[in-house]
Amino acid sequence: MKRPSLGSILLGLIPFAGACFSVTLWDRVYPMVFGLPFNLFWLIGWLPLTPLCMWAAYRLEVRRESNDIRAGGDAR
């Protein structure tokens, strides 16, 4: 199988860094945002931010695929 491109993998690591690895930085109650504890607010933020990152990754993969087809390669 063809591996995903490095660019799209890096884009996918952004949500992991934001919502998972950095937990010690944002797991706190203050500052409260819109009345929500900060940790809850932060995680809610990643629900729309993740699609944004992955949309960019999608564009990247689609462009790569159409380049492959033009080059006459394996159109996967």
Partner: protein, 497 residues
């Protein structure tokens, strides 16, 4: 009419509506094995979305997330953490899995191991482990059904008969409708649950505290530790959060039923678009936590955290509304259980029974056996739900620790030529033994780390090491395409000796 009659009548009406929708979806489609299991591989963005949204609106998130926010506090946030991340993982692995699925006509997860590693034995092991891990997940749905009826009947109907009745219904539903019916019934439950979640999530804090902000301020004042990790627990801190989020996001698509759901897609691109959009579907999830957090202050002495959402709804709203919420929950449990039963039964019949006991079975006979298995699996899960008292979230974590062990075999199998059958088998055995050992000896979390994640690390290491030491023999699908001996036909993956 008494409140419990109103609530129970409405629940029954909603369940009946959902079942009828599912039942009618089978018309115009001849029900062979491929149609029953993967819907003839013709689902577009909308239907795949509905099948894959399985995890977002289930009994688990509905009752389990609010239950953990109530009983554990901060650590429950891991559910919100892994939700978008599992779709990130799916972005990379589902399109190639779908590709292999189309090329070889795969219907189950074990089929994938069969064609990649050319080993019926490994495929059978994957099938056994998959079916066993589905049991705690099924148990969540049955327990959920039981809780709903118990609360809605104001305690007059005990949980056990409710669970038995619920499961008879699910069994019947799966047998007549297959995967297409399940997808259509999902529409009904998603709409209802979305409505229920939004309404309850905003209304409950408003009734008791005047809004979400004042509720959190009051909770912070009364129980300052509840809102952050480790919350009301001793050992579920940040390390546990990171390892549990990783385990769940990597393991999610290793569930046999979600893995198989990717085969229903019309194209790989459908799956990728799905992966991009899906996290938005979780936008109502935080409301479940909010209801659980409210219950901490409003109902401080519940015996079981998983009852918090339903009890608070019962105490705050008229009976018909409890019926609506309960009905949405009951239908959700049914639909989810149906998907799991379908996947589990097909795995058993196709990858375990046929290759080992009766190699000459036709597809038609496999389909019949799968239908019998639906009933056996359902009764097994029912048995465990009657005799176990784990919280819904804990049940799910046990299942994840098991299915996540497929991850190295799937991912290395897709992207690496060097990985060998022996390597994957050794990794799987190591991972499962470590997970089982840590959980049975009560050492989960182990030194603050999720036991399933520790097992996954050892699994990866073993897979790599053994693969390195063993020669690459059957080099997977690309070569299998050209050698007739190992090639499964387009229609069906037959066992190879």
């Amino acid at each position: 009419m008494s409140p419990s009659t109103v609530a129970l009548a409405l629940i029954s009406a909603i369940v009946a509506t959902g079942s009828i929708v599912g039942f009618f979806a089978r018309f115009h489609h001849k029900m062979d094995l491929e149609q029953w299991t993967v819907g003839g591989r013709g689902f577009g963005l909308a239907l795949v979305w509905l099948l894959m949204a399985g995890e977002v609106y289930t009994t688990f998130t509905f009752l389990g997330a609010s239950g953990w926010a109530y009983s554990r506090g901060g650590p429950a946030l891991y559910i919100l953490g892994y939700l978008p991340l599992m779709y990130v993982v799916s972005f990379y692995i589902l399109p190639p899995i779908w590709e292999v699925g189309r090329k070889y006509g795969l219907q189950t997860q074990a089929d994938f191991f069969q064609v990649r590693y050319c080993s019926s034995f490994l495929a059978a092991c994957v099938a056994i482990v998959g079916v066993l891990c589905l049991i705690p997940y099924l148990q969540i749905q049955i327990t959920g059904l039981g809780l709903i009826v118990e609360v809605a009947s104001y305690g007059t109907i005990h949980r056990t008969p409710a669970m038995i009745a619920g499961f008879a219904l699910v069994g019947a539903f799966v047998l007549v409708s297959g995967v297409r019916g399940v997808a259509w019934a999902s529409i009904v439950k998603d709409v209802l649950l979305l409505f229920a979640a939004v309404f309850v999530g905003f209304a409950v804090p408003r009734i008791y505290f005047g809004g979400i902000g004042p509720m959190f301020a009051a909770l912070e004042h009364a129980k300052p530790a509840q809102l952050v990790m480790p919350g009301a627990t001793k050992d579920l801190g940040h390390q546990w959060y990171i390892t549990s989020v990783l385990l769940s996001s990597l393991g999610f698509y290793m569930w046999p039923h979600f893995f198989a759901a990717s085969f229903t897609a019309r194209s790989g691109r459908t799956l990728r678009r799905n992966a991009v959009l899906m996290p938005l579907y979780g936008i109502t999830m935080p409301l479940m936590f909010i209801v659980g957090f409210c219950a901490v202050l409003v109902l401080p002495h519940l015996s079981n955290g998983d009852l918090s959402l339903l009890t608070i709804v019962r105490n705050s709203f008229p009976a018909w509304f409890l019926g609506l919420v309960g009905g949405a929950g009951a239908l959700t449990a049914m639909v989810t259980a149906a998907i799991q039963l379908l996947a589990g039964a097909t795995l058993y019949a196709k990858n375990l029974w046929r290759p080992i006991v009766a190699p000459r079975m036709t597809d038609q006979q496999v389909a019949t056996l799968a239908k019998i298995m639906v009933l056996i699996l359902a009764s097994g899960a029912l048995f465990f739900s009657i005799y176990s008292s784990m919280s819904l979230v804990s049940l799910l974590l046990v299942g994840y620790a098991g299915v996540a062990q497929f991850f190295p075999g799937v991912v290395l199998g897709l992207f690496s030529r060097r990985v060998t059958t022996a390597g994957v088998f050794a990794g799987l055995v190591t991972g499962l033994s470590i997970a089982l050992f840590l959980m049975l000896t009560g050492q989960d979390p182990y030194k603050g780390l999720n036991a399933g994640f520790i097992a996954l690390c050892f699994n990866f290491a073993t897979t790599g090491l053994v693969s390195f030491l063993t020669p690459v023999r059957a080099a997977g699908f690309e070569e299998a395409l050209h050698s007739t001996a190992a090639v499964p036909s387009r229609k069906d993956v037959s066992p190879t000796a």
